[in-house]
Symmetry: C2
């Protein structure tokens, strides 16, 4: 365990084992505990700390409060051909999400394209995980979740929209191109980080209390008016993603979730496409390589790297596996306390 400033570096295996033991102590079966620990540890190793190690204590607290039902698994409630509705039964979000992704791939294998709409599930942590999971098996993935209200409609001052992350993943050379993007320009977690480091946001992220667009994270944390990506465009996209998740699954919408005492019982959509079934499948690899090659020949701004979404993940992971996953001491202490049964 290396230490610099108030960050420590936890070896991947130690982090995984710690998660595993805590989950086992919270009545997960071994298989489900392993899968869940692995998702949290990989999200952390791949640099998505906000939806890995940093979020683990809240995951456990939601289990203790009964929002997340450890032993529940999704059940099929309806369907027609290539689209099915499932009830997540408030099971752990990451396990439900893997289940839904696998079911979507099953439908896609049968019908070319498949869609699972999942109601009554829990926070999936990092949506990109299911994009990688699905794309590595050779399927295109398009999926999204709704959230509680945390972003105003365009022209409004109060939050009625979720930031509703959208994930698109495409198989590429035994790996994947994976976009995982919330509809807000910055998450509240990111705003907190910039604010605590006293850094200006790289691009405008919301409004101050006077209604001016600002790059000052602290002012946005006060006004609670974050900016959607593309202003009116991302606000519209967020609304439609919520509507689709709600009506396709028959589950709760952002405004209904927001009435609850904590963010749970979400609605999600998982679409998979089995590109191996396309008659021109062999040509896809070459076509994709040409697109990425052309993209990489972009003329960069001074000092900039031109990367496709997900391209940097492997590098981050290798670094974190080699030298440990950076975690704030405070967060790790909290997790160790959970492991000790507190």
């Amino acid at each position: 365990m290396n230490k610099h400033a108030d960050f420590i570096q936890i070896p991947y295996r130690e982090m995984y084992d710690t998660f595993l033991n805590i989950l086992l102590a919270h009545n997960f079966t071994r298989e489900r505990a392993e899968q869940c620990a692995s998702i949290f540890a990989i999200n952390s190793a791949e640099g998505i700390y906000t939806h890995g190690v940093n979020r683990f204590p809240r995951f456990i607290s939601y289990i203790r409060s009964g929002y997340i039902k450890v032993d529940q698994t999704p059940s099929r409630v309806g369907g027609f051909g290539a689209i099915e509705q499932w009830n997540g039964n408030l099971g752990p979000g990451p396990l439900n999400a893997i289940h839904a992704s696998d079911q979507a791939m099953g439908l896609a294998s049968q019908h070319g394209i498949g869609c699972i709409a999942l109601a009554n599930t829990n926070h999936w942590m990092r949506g990109g995980y299911y994009g990688w999971h699905t794309a590595r098996k050779g399927f295109v993935f398009i999926g999204w979740t709704n959230t509680l209200a945390n972003m105003p409609a365009w022209g409004a001052v109060d939050s009625k929209l979720g930031n509703n992350p959208l994930v698109i993943a495409i198989p590429y050379k035994d790996e994947a191109i994976v976009l995982d993007t919330a509809m807000s320009q910055y998450s509240y977690g990111a705003l907190d980080q910039y604010h605590s480091k006293n850094q200006q946001l790289p691009v405008p992220g919301g409004y101050d209390e006077q209604g001016n667009i600002t790059q000052d994270a602290g002012k946005i944390l006060v006004s609670r008016r974050v900016l959607p990506i593309g202003y009116w465009k991302g606000a519209g996209l967020s609304l439609l993603l919520d509507i689709l998740a709600t009506i396709l699954s028959g589950g709760l919408s952002t405004h209904e979730i927001s009435k609850k005492e904590a963010e749970h019982a979400l609605s999600q959509v998982y679409i998979a496409i089995d590109i191996k079934k396309l008659s021109h499948f062999p040509a896809i690899t070459t076509s994709l390589e040409h697109i990425i090659h052309d993209y990489h020949t972009s003329q960069p701004e001074k000092g900039k790297d031109i990367r496709y979404p997900g391209e940097h993940i492997r590098e981050i992971k290798e670094k974190n596996i080699a030298s440990g996953i950076p975690v704030s001491e405070k967060v790790w202490d909290e997790i160790v306390a959970l492991a000790e049964g507190h």
Copy 2:
């Protein structure tokens, strides 16, 4: 015909008849000429002038140059279950798009969800038209097109990405909620308009030649560096939409289209979902009404209206039908000259 400044107002019927006669003179069959004239006239009546009347002269010039083949219709080249590949055979983009939307609905009726990937087609003008078309028949629509390169990758100065408009439409009360959004914050057409009126853009739209983000449309027209929606987020989304359109259809990607002498032979995706087939279908209407009601109770910024995507369309259309569709005299003169056989 009323006149104010250099804009005139053309009655809907006069505009439709003018388009119709020009299309008939360019060897469209009567049925196809009527459908195509209607799409251009409705796009104009609904306020999307850039992809209606203002674009009509270029549509005719592409026919004359042979990029658009008037008599060609799409042909099915492959498929598996609920996903099919079609070749647009360079037929007129709007007619190919209606055909693909109808085929997607056909697949959705059979399989719940259906996907048509269309290669080798032409500019569909206003993507939202096919969203309305599909949603009014009771289907969810998710569709997008690629374009030639007109936007830089994030961190780059030269354009390698298209602005690849994405359309999502949802049936609502015999009407629809329709989002139609390009991946750039502003189109070049919009930048031209702000520049010609000497108006500042409402939000940043691109870079000046020195690499600073600016709201000055004129400077962006010089640098050719438009901003993606949400900065790195919209750039990523644009790349993935191009890849999906290309690999699912087996057609050309943005970088291949950009090598051609004019923007044609595009790739598009049309996904339809038959929500009437869902077992909880009757509950969808109520659920949707609750979401929209909650959305409309947003607390507006002073002077702002809170509208969902597409909500303003009916009003614009009623106004334009009542008092004529505003067109610049220059554009209308050009169209009248085409009608006179020039």
